[in-house]
């Protein structure tokens, strides 16, 4: 474990930027989002949740992967897409870091999504512990402990006041640590004590959060019972089918493939899609889910029943963004509780 003083941050960013692209939580117009760091940006490492999740970095909102052009009778194709540069994603909270694993489960299984794989391999994830979890956070309901390093992050850090403690977790993390060289200082006995106190304080705060009683494991009934439950009629009524929840959610990963028709040339790209949209998964005969209730049910069945059946883990990390962003105050917590998932 090492430490670096917060007043050396500017040096740290420049140092990282020499060998990597650097993504940090940057504040613009009052909203904090992960973006590519430039010198004049206002970095905000205190905001617990970024406005939109960082999944945009590993799974971009739209990604062109094929370009084509016709020249008379000749057709030329060009593979593009993926990511060439190595990058560091700094300041990811444990919930968002766990969401990367959840998306990995889908995209890194056979057949492997090579663009996603390349982006994941080129990235070094530096995660930060959450000092003051917000009242809309419920990561503990999914087994996430925001004071400890979740599986898969390359480096984990803790803010203990004037300095941050830095601990590499993987080989990639070690490489980054070495590259940064002497910006680090040695950790003292006092620092370790501070860290233990901090970890305890975070644990206490998490257990006293208002949503800590949410427990998806208590949802009872088998797939067919939950699917046919009358609960869905009631809770889907107010849903407008907008898609805000899916786009701010760190674990939602549905995408569409579209072509851009440029006349004699064009591009094929993939883009985020939302199961809330009325044209989602539309096929030759039409949309198999014609009512908003069916679409609403699909989203939550996927997160709470289908995905856990396939991967033995829930497809939600308890970040609480859907609670804050839904225009009509619907969210996964209400769904879980209605299905019986409360301690």
């Amino acid at each position: 474990m090492k430490k670096v003083a917060k007043n050396k941050f500017s040096q740290l960013w420049n140092s990282i930027n020499k060998d990597y692209e650097l993504f940090l939580p940057i504040e613009k117009d009052g909203k904090v989002n992960f973006s590519l760091w430039k010198d004049e940006d206002k970095i905000n490492l205190d905001a617990i949740k970024t406005n939109v999740s960082p999944k945009n970095i590993i799974f971009p909102q739209s990604e062109t992967y094929l370009k084509f052009k016709t020249d008379g009778k000749k057709l030329s194709l060009e593979n593009v897409g993926g990511k060439k540069e190595e990058y560091v994603l700094f300041g990811v909270r444990p919930c968002d870091a766990v969401s990367f694993n959840l998306i990995d489960n889908v995209f890194l299984r056979e057949p492997i999504d090579r663009f996603y794989e390349e982006r994941r391999n080129k990235g070094t994830v530096v995660s930060m512990a959450c000092l003051e979890p917000e009242e809309t956070c419920f990561c503990s309901s999914f087994g996430i402990e925001p004071e400890t390093a979740p599986k898969g992050v390359d480096v984990f850090t803790w803010d203990i006041g004037q300095t941050i403690l830095w601990e590499a977790q993987t080989e990639k993390g070690n490489i980054l640590t070495e590259k940064l060289g002497d910006i680090f200082e040695e950790v003292t006995e006092q620092d370790i004590n501070e860290l233990e106190k901090l970890k305890h304080s975070i644990k206490d705060k998490v257990s006293s959060l208002p949503l800590s009683d949410v427990d998806p494991k208590k949802i009872d009934g088998d797939l067919k019972d939950i699917f046919e439950s009358e609960v869905w009629d009631e809770i889907s009524k107010s849903c407008l089918g907008c898609g805000s929840c899916t786009y701010v959610c760190p674990t939602c990963h549905c995408y569409d493939i579209q072509d851009f028709d440029g006349g004699k040339c064009g591009e094929r790209f993939r883009c985020w899609d939302s199961c809330m949209f009325s044209d989602f998964t539309r096929m030759a005969h039409g949309n198999p889910r014609t009512s908003q209730k069916e679409r609403f049910r699909q989203r939550f069945m996927h997160k709470l029943v289908y995905y856990p059946n396939n991967h033995q883990v829930y497809a939600c990390v308890g970040c609480g963004r859907c609670i804050e962003k839904c225009p009509v105050n619907m969210n996964i917590v209400k769904v879980i509780k209605k299905l019986g998932g409360e301690k």
């Binding site: 805000s244 044209d279 917590v333």
Partner: protein, 326 residues
């Protein structure tokens, strides 16, 4: 319990027992102090879940189109802005007036949870009570009382219609608020004062924040097309690529499509996850319509035609300028 909640429940109970309605659209309280969400109740036993407080921001008129398809008579609690939307839907022939019973709720303004959080007043906050402009933050460690409108949504501060314009009965006394007519379009004038380059830079920066979630479109009461042009692959405009021109296209066309029908409720800006000030686009169109075609407020008088589907022979013609040869 607040007086208004008592009145709301009483009215609902009465409505069900007299058979006046088959369903009522109202608000219930969720887990958090700011969580007041729309509910749909169908019998007297559910009436006690109804509440009314300073977080009942949603426009319930929006649900009428869908609900009227499978319910004969619906009762709905509407604020001033909501009632304008109701009239607009009538004008658009999307709903039938005689199947809806409106319980109007005069509104002094809704509280913006973000502003409360910014002041740090959300720590341990249990409930927010409001009487006129006297606000009481009830927390675990005691109450904090505040006077004034500093926590209201920006759009509520510029509200022209705190009282419903159409209703069967009112839930409480009408609100009287001064409206500064001179300052009405200040936000639009600020942008108009910029140069073309500055304007483009401002708007393209705003539009680049867009994540194309469609929240603005889905919450808008004027956007009620069965199949939106942006969901219709056959229309050729539904490109979902994250490209500047596509984002600009979406917002310009959406603003244009609701021109003359936008009731200025400001919900589009409120729900935008990226914080784009969309209402400034719609506000500009409203200002233009007022200047060019006479004062017009969508939703005030459903019998008057909307500006874009009517015309006058003497309309202003800015295109007549070009004197070519004969």
């Amino acid at each position: 319990m607040e007086k208004i909640t008592v009145k709301v429940r009483e009215t609902a109970r009465q409505a069900f027992s007299s058979g006046e309605v088959d369903k009522i659209l109202g608000f219930a309280k969720g887990d958090f102090w700011q969580d007041s969400y729309p509910i749909f109740i169908t019998n007297e036993n559910e009436v006690d879940s109804l509440i009314w407080d300073s977080f009942c921001i949603n426009n319930l008129s929006k649900y009428l189109i869908k609900e009227l398809k499978n319910t004969q008579k619906i009762g709905v609690f509407l604020k001033g802005c909501d009632s304008l939307a109701f009239n607009q839907l009538l004008q658009d022939n999307r709903i039938e007036a005689d199947r809806v019973v409106i319980y109007g709720v005069p509104c002094v303004g809704m509280i913006d949870a973000e502003k409360v959080k910014k002041e740090g007043l959300n720590k341990g906050l249990l409930e927010v009570k409001r009487s006129g402009d006297e606000i009481s933050f009830v927390t675990k460690d005691g109450d904090k009382n505040v006077s004034g409108r500093q926590f209201d949504y920006d759009k509520c501060l510029e509200c022209n219609h705190p009282n419903p314009v159409v209703y069967k009965e009112l839930m409480r006394d009408e609100v009287s608020r001064e409206v500064n007519k001179e300052e009405r379009f200040k936000d639009v004038e600020e942008i108009e004062a910029m140069s073309a380059e500055e304007r483009f830079s401002y708007w393209s920066q705003q539009f680049s924040k867009c994540i194309r979630c469609n929240a603005c479109r889905n919450i808008c009461p004027a956007c009620s097309c069965e199949t939106c042009v942006f969901d219709n692959a056959a229309a050729g405009v539904s490109d979902k690529a994250k490209v500047d021109s596509e984002d600009q296209f979406f917002h310009i066309i959406r603003a244009y499509h609701v021109a003359g029908r936008c009731v200025n409720c400001g919900e589009c800006s409120r729900v935008c996850p990226a914080g784009i000030p969309l209402h400034k686009l719609n506000h500009k169109i409203i200002k233009d319509i007022n200047e060019l075609y006479g004062e017009y407020e969508a939703g005030l008088d459903p019998s008057k035609g909307a500006p874009l589907v009517t015309y006058k022979l003497e309309d202003i013609d800015p295109f007549e300028g070009h004197k070519g040869g004969k």
